[in-house]
């Protein structure tokens, strides 16, 4: 390995991500009717939470949107900076950018870093199978099943996670945290010390260590 190759490998931004091959680079439209490329603009190097829904859904979708709204409040400082929410429609024929804008505004979720996406059915179907495919035609053909799951992606780390949208907020937040960028040594030491203080307080108070993680 020569010096040029070594430097190329070291500074390659996302060496392990399959990129377009996995995510596709389909051109979608957000609630502001802006054209975005799925991988290049939305996934590349970012951490995001993706769900599928449709505006006229009267089942699980409104509840999932509400859960995401609560999560947004907790993660507000990161939203739009290093963390994004993408809500993609499964009914692109009905859900135009204007319909998505209306949906977002009426539910007070037209927020920075949260995009509602529509596009060609062909592309959305491909993305849905790539992100939520379970290798079983009966489950994969069931559109409602995918409205109750959240896919958590960190492209920079090339890591994936999945969360049940009806799990507790703490559970979902923990799953999002699992996909967070790796922390520096100093940060980890600081966190460990803070956790140790809690453990010691618990042991002193109760006589044993309680689950301080939850």
């Amino acid at each position: 390995m020569d010096r040029r190759e070594l430097l190329t490998r070291v500074f390659e931004p996302h060496p392990a991500s399959p990129g377009v091959a996995r995510y596709t680079n389909a051109v979608l439209r957000n609630q502001n009717n802006e054209a975005v490329k799925f991988y290049d603009d939305l996934i590349r190097g970012k951490q995001c939470v993706v769900n599928f829904f449709y505006a006229e859904c009267h089942g699980s979708c409104p509840a999932v949107t509400q859960t995401m709204k609560t999560l947004y409040r907790t993660l507000k400082d990161r939203m739009g900076n290093d963390l994004f929410f993408y809500s993609m429609t499964i009914k692109p024929e009905d859900d135009t950018p204007a319909a998505l804008k209306h949906y977002a505004e009426t539910r007070n979720v037209d927020l920075p870093g949260w995009y509602f996406l529509t596009g060609d059915r062909y592309d959305l179907e491909t993305i849905r199978y790539r992100l939520f495919g379970m290798d079983h035609p009966a489950f994969d053909g069931d559109l409602t099943l995918h409205t109750s799951y959240l896919r958590i992606i960190n492209d920079a780390r090339n890591s994936w996670g999945m969360a049940q949208a009806f799990a507790t907020n703490a559970n979902i937040l923990r799953r999002i945290a699992w996909q967070d960028p790796p922390k520096s040594y100093a940060e980890r030491v600081k966190e460990s010390r803070a956790r140790q203080v809690i453990i010691e307080q618990e042991v002193k108070k109760y006589g044993y260590r309680r689950d301080s993680m939850s």
Binding site: A21, G133, D135, L143
Partner: protein, 354 residues
């Protein structure tokens, strides 16, 4: 030594007889169970029959007189009068608009959604009048692939229009066994449009590319092999005549899957996904679209819902298409076009190059 050999031979014979009798006693495999027609399973996408107005429609005015309504894609309709053996004569031209009434909140939230109301608004061009008026609105009461019942203002009884198809359309479902290393084989649908005696064929699915299982657009030299008579029990071929709307929908699905294979956008991709599942999704979509507007064929519901769907329960995905087509053939034997008749209908010597 001799005694030992005799004893072992006797033991072998005894074992062989016992095995054979055990096999005879084994209960036979369960026979195929009929699929009761029922509502879609929970969560399955509900698809409504699309109302496709573009084309030519015929309305019988009296015993000797009929009218042809030719709707084009640019919003213009021509009305032609047909009486006896005379050549159709244009009697009116109008602009038309296809209006779909928006559904209420309650209607969209209903578990079983009914199709929204549809009507056609006509504005006659020039001095011509359509239905005796300059502006008229015709409410579509019911429709399927081949007919439409409309309520015309001023007329007591609803009028039935029938679609006029000048071309003929076919679908051929072909599957083979014992072709690949795992004993599975090719399986794909072919959609055929016969326009002015020239067949145009499109096919997508799993086929053999020099003995290797391949998924995508089936080349003509491959699908031509399946336009002949089935080769014994290891091959199943079902030939059905369909109408223009069934063809259009099936053709669209075939085109979409050809595109998916071309653009590397298959829904299931190895190593993460099972390749043969793509073919199952394609075959299911193509066959289900035939019955989207009316129960035209006796279909088998390939939905992994055991015990109704016994095929996916009994066979691995790569073998499912063969048994699926076999079951469809059994159910639609009366509609199956025999090879000799198919040869007469579809002149394969005039295959259109695609």
């Amino acid at each position: 030594m001799k005694i030992t050999a005799i004893i072992s031979l006797a033991l072998m014979l005894l074992w062989a007889t016992a095995t054979a009798s055990a096999q005879e006693k084994r209960p036979p495999l369960p026979s195929p169970r009929p699929t009761p027609a029922g509502a879609r399973d929970f969560g399955q996408e509900q698809q409504n029959c699309p109302c496709q107005i573009i084309g030519t429609w015929k309305a019988q005015v009296s015993k000797t007189e009929a009218r042809l309504y030719e709707f084009d894609g640019a919003g213009v309709v021509k009305v032609l009068k047909v009486s006896g053996a005379d050549k159709p004569r244009e009697i009116a031209t109008a602009k038309y608009e296809f209006v779909v009434e928006p559904m209420s909140m309650e209607e969209t939230a209903a578990p079983v959604q009914k199709a929204p109301e549809k009507q056609i608004a006509f504005t006659a061009a020039g001095n011509n009048r359509i239905f005796g008026r300059t502006n008229a609105t015709m409410k579509i009461v019911s429709y399927d692939d081949s007919s439409m019942t409309c309520q015309i203002p001023g007329m007591k009884e609803p009028v039935r229009w029938t679609r006029v198809d000048t071309d003929r359309y076919f679908i051929v479902l072909a599957a083979r066994q014992n072709e690949f290393y795992d004993n599975s084989g090719s399986a794909f649908p072919m959609v055929i449009k016969l326009a002015e005696g020239i067949p145009q064929i499109d096919a997508a699915g799993t086929y053999s590319d020099h003995g290797k299982s391949t998924f995508g657009k089936v080349p003509p030299d491959i699908y031509k092999q399946y336009l002949g008579e089935a080769r014994g029990d290891s091959e199943v071929i079902l030939r059905l005549e369909i109408n223009s709307q069934q063809y259009a929908r099936a053709w669209k699905i075939v085109q979409e899957w050809q595109r998916r294979a071309r653009e590397n956008a298959l829904l299931y991709r190895p190593p993460d996904g099972i390749m043969s599942l793509n073919n199952l999704v394609l075959l299911r979509a193509v066959t289900e679209t035939l019955n989207l507007c009316e129960n035209d064929f006796d279909l088998y519901k390939l939905d992994y819902n055991y015990p109704r769907d016994w095929i996916t329960d009994a066979y691995a995905p790569e073998f499912v298409p063969f048994y699926f087509f076999k079951e469809l053939k059994r159910r639609n034997e009366a509609r199956h076009i025999e090879y000799t008749k198919f040869q007469e209908l579809v002149p394969l010597s005039h295959l259109a190059s695609r």
